[in-house]
C-alpha cells in the first residue's frame, strides 16, 4: 500500500520540499519556527516516500534494465518534445534515499545551528529548494529535465554559499560557484543540443539504445567529443580539475550548507549525471579513459593541497574534491557500482565531518584555523568521538563504511590500469594523513586558554549521531546485502573482497595515520620545520597551485581587457560612424545656414529675382511650345 503509493507518487519527493519553499517564501518569512517545522515535515515526508520507493525497487524487482518510468510533456513543438517525468531504478532510488536522508538531517541540524540568524525562515526555504532541485534531478527521465534541475541546484548553491551576503568573501564565493559551473554547463548544453539534434530525443532510455547503435555504425570519434562536452558539466559541478576552484570557497556559506553541498546535493550531481548517462559513456573508451585519468589526477591533486591547508572547512573541501575524483575514477574504469557505493558512504561521513566542523565553529564562534583550536576533545567529547568515526571512515579503516567503498574502487582500478591503482592508493595514504592531522591538531594538543568551547545541543548532536551510525555500518551492511546486484551497469557485480588489495590499503591508511602522529602528535613545531624544508612544494600546496590566481589574472586581463577594447570600439567606431554621419549632416547644414541671414529684405529680393526668372522661363518656353502652354 505505502510502497505502491510511494512508487506511483515518487514525484512528491521533490514536490514536497518545493512546496515548502513556496509556502515559506510567500507566507512564513516572519514566522521562523513554523518555517523550520514545515521544511522538516516536508523533507521528512519526502524521506518516507523515498524509503517506500527504495522498498518498492527491491520488492518489485525494478532493475537498471527495467526501470519504472512515468512521463508527461513539458512543452512540445514539431521536432522538439520536452518531457518531465519520474525514472526510478535502483541507482535513482539509492540517490533519493541518500539525498533526502541527508537533507533531512541537515535541516534538523540547522534548527540549532542557525538559531538567531535574521534570515532563519528564508534559510529553510532555500535549503528546501536546494534539496527539491537535487531530488528532481535524480528522478529525471531525460537530459533536459536533468539540466533544468541541475541549474536550479546551481542557483541554490549560489544563494546559500552567498548566504552571509554582507561579507564580500561570501558574495564572491557564491558568484564564483555559479560562474565556474556555468562554464561547465556551456559544454553540457552543447552536448545535450548535439544529442537532441543527432538523435531527436533526450530521453535516457531511448539514448541508451540509439547511441551505442550509432557508435557501432559510425565509429566513436564524434560521439567521444560529445561525451566529453557532456562531461564538462560534471567537471565543473563535481569540482574536478581544472574547474574545482569554486568548491573550497563554497565553505563561505553556513556550515549546514557546506554539508549539504559536499555530501548530498550539488557536487554529487556531476557524478550522478555520468552514472545516469553511463550507457553513452561506457561505449566510448576514449571518453572513459579521460574520465578515469582526470578523476585520478583530481584525487591526487586535491589531496596534495589538503595537506597544508589550515582552515578546517577548507581541508574538508579539498578532501571532498579528492573523494569526488575517486568516484570519477571508478566511473572511468567502468565500475558504476563502486562509484555509487562510494558516493553513498562518502555522503554519510562527509556530512558528518562537516556537521562536526560546524559544531566546532559554533562553539568557537567561527574561528576556523585548526592550529588555533587544540584540546577540543575535553570540552566537546561527543563531537570528538563522532569526528573520530568519520575520520576512520574516510581513511578507509575496516570495518568503517569508507573501507568497503574505497576497496571496490581500488579493485576496479587495479583491473584496468596499474598507474591508476597506484595513484588512487597514494591518494588514500595522503587522505589518511591529512585527516589524521586535522583530527590530532584540533582535538588533541594544548587547549587554547582564550576559548571556552561547549558541546552543541541535541538538535545538532542527533543528526550527527545518525550519520555516525551510518558511517560505521553503511559500508558493511550494503556490501553484505549485495549492493552490486542492484546498483550496477551491465551484469550484476558480485565483488568479493580482494584481500590483497584490502590489506594493502589498510596498511597504507595506517601508515598515513602514523606519519601524522609522528609529525603532529607532539605539537605543531615539527610541522613548521618540515614546511620550511619543503620550501617551494609547501607554498605550491598552500596556495593551491595558484590555479585561482591564474583564473583571476585571466578574468581581469583577458576577459575584462577584451570587454574594454570592445567598449572603446563601440563608443568610437560604431558610434563614431553614427555621430560622424550626424556631424556631417550638421556641417552641410552649417553651410546652408549662411543663406538664411534673417534679413527680410534679402528674402524679398531673392523672391523677386526668382519670380522674374520663373516668368522669363515660362515666357520663353511658352513661345517654344508654340502656344501650347496654358498656365
Amino acid at each position: 500500500m505505502w510502497v505502491d503509493f510511494s512508487l506511483h507518487h515518487a514525484w512528491l519527493i521533490p514536490l514536497l520540499p518545493a512546496l515548502a519553499f513556496a509556502i515559506i517564501s510567500f507566507f512564513l518569512l516572519r514566522s521562523p519556527q513554523l518555517a523550520s517545522r514545515l521544511a522538516i515535515a516536508a523533507m521528512g515526508s519526502a524521506f518516507l516516500i523515498a524509503l517506500g520507493v527504495g522498498w518498492a525497487v527491491v520488492s518489485k524487482g525494478i532493475t537498471v534494465e527495467a526501470p519504472f518510468v512515468m512521463k508527461t510533456v513539458w512543452f512540445s513543438m514539431p521536432g522538439l518534445v520536452a518531457g518531465m517525468g519520474v525514472l526510478i531504478d535502483p541507482i535513482a532510488a539509492m540517490m533519493l534515499f541518500v539525498v533526502s536522508l541527508i537533507s533531512l538531517l541537515v535541516l534538523i541540524y540547522s534548527t540549532g545551528y542557525m538559531t538567531g540568524d535574521p534570515g532563519y525562515a528564508r534559510f529553510f526555504a532555500f535549503m528546501s529548494l536546494f534539496a527539491a532541485s537535487m531530488l528532481a534531478m535524480v528522478i529525471a527521465t531525460n537530459f533536459l529535465q536533468l539540466f533544468v534541475f541541475w541549474e536550479l541546484v546551481g542557483l541554490c548553491s549560489y544563494l546559500l554559499i552567498g548566504w552571509y551576503f554582507h561579507k564580500i568573501s561570501a558574495r564572491e564565493a557564491g558568484k564564483k560557484a555559479f560562474m565556474t559551473t556555468r562554464i561547465g554547463d556551456f559544454g553540457l548544453l552543447l552536448g545535450i543540443l548535439f544529442l537532441q539534434i543527432a538523435f531527436g530525443t533526450l530521453d535516457f532510455g531511448e539514448l541508451a539504445v540509439k547511441v551505442p547503435a550509432y557508435v557501432s555504425q559510425n565509429g566513436a570519434a564524434l560521439m567521444t567529443c560529445v561525451a566529453l562536452l557532456l562531461f564538462a558539466g560534471p567537471v565543473a559541478k563535481s569540482g574536478q580539475f581544472p574547474l574545482h576552484v569554486w568548491l573550497p570557497d563554497a565553505m563561505e556559506g553556513p556550515t549546514p550548507v557546506s554539508a549539504l553541498i559536499h555530501a548530498a546535493t550539488m557536487v554529487v550531481a556531476g557524478v550522478y549525471l555520468v552514472a545516469r548517462a553511463f550507457a553513452i559513456f561506457s561505449v566510448l573508451p576514449g571518453a572513459m579513459t579521460v574520465i578515469a585519468w582526470l578523476g585520478c589526477f583530481t584525487a591526487l591533486f586535491a589531496a596534495c593541497i589538503a595537506l597544508t591547508q589550515r582552515e578546517i572547512k577548507r581541508i574538508l573541501a579539498f578532501s571532498t574534491i579528492s573523494q569526488l575524483g575517486y568516484m570519477m575514477l571508478a566511473l572511468g574504469v567502468g565500475s558504476l557500482t563502486a562509484s555509487m557505493f562510494h558516493l553513498m558512504t562518502h555522503a554519510f561521513f562527509k556530512a558528518l565531518l562537516f556537521l562536526g566542523a560546524g559544531s566546532i565553529l559554533h562553539a568557537l564562534h567561527d574561528k576556523a584555523d585548526i592550529f588555533e583550536m587544540g584540546g577540543l576533545r575535553k570540552s566537546m567529547p561527543a563531537t570528538c568521538a563522532m569526528m573520530g568515526i568519520a575520520v576512520l571512515a574516510i581513511a578507509g579503516i575496516p570495518p568503517f563504511a569508507g573501507f568497503f567503498s574505497k576497496d571496490e574502487i581500488l579493485v576496479a582500478a587495479a583491473h584496468v590500469s596499474t598507474p591508476l591503482y597506484i595513484g588512487a592508493s597514494f591518494t588514500a595514504f595522503l587522505t589518511a594523513f591529512y585527516m589524521a592531522r586535522l583530527f590530532l591538531v584540533a582535538f588533541f594538543g594544548e587547549e587554547n586558554p582564550h576559548d571556552h568551547p561547549h558541546e552543541s545541543g541535541m538538535s545538532m548532536l542527533f543528526p550527527m549521531g545518525v550519520l555516525a551510525v551510518l558511517s560505521i555500518f553503511a559500508g558493511a551492511v550494503p556490501f553484505a546485502l549485495g549492493f552490486g546486484d542492484w546498483v550496477r551497469f551491465g551484469p550484476a557485480h558480485h565483488a568479493g573482497i580482494d584481500w590483497g588489495i584490502a590489506s594493502a590499503s589498510t596498511l597504507i591508511a595506517l601508515a598515513g595515520f602514523s606519519l601524522a602522529w609522528l609529525i603532529y602528535g607532539g605539537g605543531a613545531k615539527r610541522s613548521d620545520a618540515i614546511a620550511k624544508q619543503a620550501g617551494v612544494l609547501y607554498s605550491l600546496s598552500l596556495n593551491k597551485f595558484y590555479v585561482d590566481e591564474l583564473y583571476q589574472w585571466f578574468n581581469r586581463n583577458i576577459v575584462t581587457g577584451l570587454a574594454r577594447v570592445l567598449y572603446w570600439v563601440d563608443l568610437n567606431v560604431v558610434d563614431g560612424i553614427v555621430d560622424g554621419a550626424a556631424q556631417k549632416s550638421g556641417a552641410v547644414g552649417a553651410i546652408l545656414r549662411r543663406f538664411q541671414t534673417g534679413q527680410t529684405q534679402q528674402y524679398a529680393a531673392v523672391m523677386l529675382i526668382a519670380t522674374v526668372m520663373l516668368a522669363l522661363i515660362l515666357a520663353f518656353s511658352a513661345g517654344a511650345v508654340a502656344g501650347g502652354g496654358k498656365i
Binding site: 545656414r593 538664411q596 541671414t597 534673417g598 534679413q599 527680410t600 529684405q601 524679398a604 529680393a605 523677386l608
Partner: protein, 102 residues
C-alpha cells in the same frame, strides 16, 4: 485719349516704387507702406483690365475690393507687430529683426 496702357504704366511705376521701397527702406513702417503701394498698383491693374477687356465689368472690381480688405487686415497686423516690436526692443529697423534665424 487715355487708354489701357496708361493705366498699366501708372500701375507699373507704382509697383516699381513700392518694390524699391520694400527692398531698400530700413524702417518697418516704410516697408509696410511700400507693400501697400504695391498692392494698390495691382488694384489699378485689375480695375483697368476689368474696364477695358473683361466682358463682366464687375469681376475685376470685386477682386480689388477683396485686395483692399486684405491689405487693410495686413496693415493692421503689420502695424501691431511693428508696435509690439518697438515696445519690446525699442527699434523699428528691419535689419535688426532677425531673431528667428538660428
Amino acid at each position: 485719349m487715355i487708354g489701357l496702357s496708361h493705366y498699366l504704366l501708372v500701375g507699373a511705376v507704382l509697383f516699381g516704387l513700392g518694390l524699391f521701397g520694400l527692398l531698400t527702406k530700413r524702417n518697418l513702417i516704410a516697408v509696410l507702406m511700400s507693400i501697400e503701394l504695391m498692392l494698390n498698383s495691382v488694384n489699378i491693374n485689375l480695375v483697368a483690365f476689368s474696364r477695358y477687356t473683361a466682358t463682366d465689368a464687375a469681376a475685376g472690381q470685386v477682386f480689388s475690393l477683396f485686395i483692399i480688405a486684405v491689405a487693410a487686415a495686413e496693415v493692421a497686423v503689420g502695424l501691431a507687430l511693428a508696435y509690439a516690436i518697438y515696445r519690446g526692443r525699442d527699434t523699428v529697423s528691419i535689419d535688426d529683426m532677425n531673431w528667428l534665424k538660428w
